[in-house]
Amino acid sequence: MTQRHSLRISCFVFLLLTSVQTAIMAQDQCLTCHEAIEDSHVALFKKDIHYAKGLSCADCHGGDASKEEMEAAMDAKAGFIGVPKGDRISATCAKCHSDAAVMVKRYESALPLDQMELLETSVHGKLSTSGREHIAQCTSCHGAHGIVTKMNRTSPVHPLNLPATCAKCHSNATFMRTYDPSLPIDQLEKYRTSVHGKRNKSGDPKAAECASCHESHEILSAKDIRSSVYPTNLPATCSKCHSDASYMKGYGIASDQHQQYAKSVHGKALLEKKDLGAPACNDCHGNHGAAPPGLESVSKVCGTCHALNAELFSSSPHKKAFDSRKLPECETCHGNHEIVAATDELLGVGEGAVCAWCHKENENIKGFAVARTMRSLADSLIAAENEAISLVSEAEQKGMEVGEAKFKLREIRQARLETRTKVHSFDLKQFQEVADRGLAAASTVTAEAGEAIDQYFFRRWGLLVASLIITILAVSLYVYIRRIEKEQAQS
């Protein structure tokens, strides 16, 4: 009985020891020891998504996590690298995150595999001031031991946390100066004043944050033509959200701005002609401090480029009239996103003329008369310019030298363009002064080109007469030669 009992005890102890040894061997010895020494990273790591997926410390730091003895576990021969430094950090992450076999097959992850590649080609992939590593590593944004999914509220790259994460560097004047002293450091400050920033702060994760416009891993300089915030790409970037009716639902704003903008004079200049001088969304709304221009500030916004028009408008009687009726200044006549090229059709009192919206024949009579006269002058100037162009072209086709007249055509065009500016003074005297200058230039050019055409016909007639005289002379001479040679032969 005792022997049998002893055998049972022995078997139990053996099994127990074997189980304990197996358990010890299966346990992450790194965690065991570092927890024992109260390493704060352990607590963080236990919340980390990598821990949840079964990764051990050794997967990043190297070494043998099954060894109980510190020397064996942290032996360089076992691949221990300690805390990865510099580019080794991102390389460690990329070991799995760029490997389809690991990410897709083992973890069935839908994360893109090109993050490392994109990071390396981004503006953050440039060399740091030390010249030994790239500017940003994965951990710069995602942290190291407490990494959670992007949509986890505690993640530094969660939409509500991202502005502060980026600002860690981008609002640090000392740090930023070493890379690009011309880059502003008040983006976060401005962002907080924007509609996007305010909504973000109030907890709306849908509101645009840094990565919404600048992208996440593939961030490029705004001067880079491939950048999502390069002027010609910016309207499309904004429209990712603003043209998505379902996304914008609930914000109470239209979603056809991009569609309208693309048809506008600004949109065509920027998107079709690639004219970088043309405004993109941010030029009117601001970029980091993006907000719709207020009623009073529309003319100031437009006036940043259309300075003369804005100045004339501000000192015109319309300024007061518009303000008192709470009419947005430029926008009332020209529209906002779909601003078409301003033609003379807008002026006057006929069909399509914006003046007639307020100035009727029996209401606001003075303005009605001024608009009608201005339009009449503008039409006369266009007709005079067309006639001058046509005559100069005809004279040129006839081979006449009309270089000077051609040069003067610019004066007419200049005056015509200037009248379009002077319209904004709504002062007939100022407008007429410029129109008269253009008409006078047109008259000079028309006269010069007309003279050149007359001269062309005069030359042909002159040639005919001269040629006739020379021919008569030649024939007479021939007859004379024949006569004297006949006389010589007879003698």
């Binding site: 030298e401 270089g403 030359r459 040639l463 040679e485």
Partner: protein, 358 residues
């Protein structure tokens, strides 16, 4: 009226003995044969040169030879000055016709062997005038300071610059510096209106004096066939025929100048890139085109250098024909000279056409 003219004639005759000159001209005869027509090209060249001198002087009244004003002054001549357009157009057309007439005259002299003893100096002065005529063309081409002229001058002087040893100094001399600038324009203007005309008049004087002194050259064998030895008096017959041809040439120039006025183009911009289709004047075209066909390297010698040296050598041999064509000098037919001449004519025509079409 007739008495008054007679009085004036006598007054001059008393002092300079005009009667001797008239007697000399009256005794002067021009051979009449199947190639007599070529004699007239010398006169046509002279007439065209006179037109150039007259129209050139008229243009000088308004032309301003500076980088800033040259183009504008010609624009002014063509649009504001009374008949300025006509004068400028005649000057340009007559310049080209002058070169053409001089080339025809030169080849006619060559093929009829009129260069043979005792007319070697007449030939040499004629060749000198032909080269000077080309120089007139090259220097005058730049004067409007337009885009085509600017770049053609650049290319032309570049080609001159590749000649070993003397090329670079010649290029700098022509350009007035390393590049084609306003200094080049001033220099070309100086060549065109002062140096070349001065030299030309000297050669022309000698040439005409010798033609008058020695008379027209007769073809080889002409003196051996007394039956065919027809002549005509130089005065008035030949001179009047010359005059008749001059009138016809004048008519042609008038038609060309009015119906095809010489274009001014656009002002030269030294900082602009060269426009496509830069071509030299047509009389340089065969050389320009030939240089394009020579490989970059020929037996360790730069192709362009070789080409220029070959053309220089060919020009020298051609100019010295009176001294190596011994057979013609002895009154014998020299077929080799004819074949060489024929080859040169065909070569020039062919390469000019290729260059024009390229």
């Amino acid at each position: 009226m007739k008495n008054k003219l007679l009085t004036i004639y006598r007054w001059i005759d008393e002092r300079v003995e005009l009667r001797d000159l008239i007697e000399f001209m009256g005794k002067k005869y021009v051979p009449v044969h199947e190639h007599s027509v070529w004699y007239y090209f010398g006169g046509v060249s002279l007439f065209l040169f006179i037109i150039q001198v007259v129209t050139g002087i008229l243009l000088l009244f308004y032309y301003k030879g500076s980088e800033e004003l040259a183009f504008e002054s010609i624009q002014f001549i063509m649009s504001k000055v009374e008949f300025g357009w006509l004068i400028r157009s005649i000057h340009s057309w007559a310049a080209n016709l002058f070169i053409l007439a001089a080339i025809i005259h030169m080849f006619s002299v060559y093929f009829t062997k009129a260069y043979r003893k005792p007319r070697e100096i007449t030939w040499l002065t004629g060749m000198a005038m032909l080269f000077l005529g080309m120089g007139f063309g090259f220097s005058g081409y730049l004067l409007p300071w337009n885009e085509l002229a600017f770049f053609a001058t650049k290319v032309g002087t570049d080609i001159a610059g590749v000649v070993p040893l003397i090329g670079k100094p010649i290029m700098i001399l022509l350009r007035g510096g390393e590049d084609v600038t306003g200094a080049t324009l001033s220099r070309m203007f100086g060549f065109h209106v002062a140096i070349f005309p001065g030299l030309f008049v000297v050669f022309l004087g000698i040439h005409l004096l010798l033609v008058q002194r020695q008379g027209m050259s007769e073809p080889i064998g002409f003196e051996n066939s007394p039956a065919n030895q027809k002549t005509m008096p130089f005065f008035p017959n030949f001179l009047l025929r010359d005059l008749l041809l001059w009138l016809l040439v004048l008519n042609v120039i008038a038609i060309l100048a009015v119906l095809f006025p010489w274009e001014l183009g656009v002002k030269a911009d030294p900082f602009a890139s060269a426009p496509s289709g830069i071509k030299p004047e047509w009389y340089f075209m065969f050389m320009f085109q030939s240089l394009k066909y020579i490989p970059a390297q020929v037996f360790f010698v730069d192709g362009e250098v070789l080409g220029i040296l070959l053309f220089g050598l060919a020009g020298l041999i051609w100019t010295l024909v009176p001294f190596w064509d011994r057979k013609s000098a002895a009154g014998q037919q020299n077929r080799l000279v004819n074949y060489v001449g024929l080859f040169v004519v065909l070569y020039m025509i062919l390469f000019t056409i290729i260059g024009w079409l390229a």
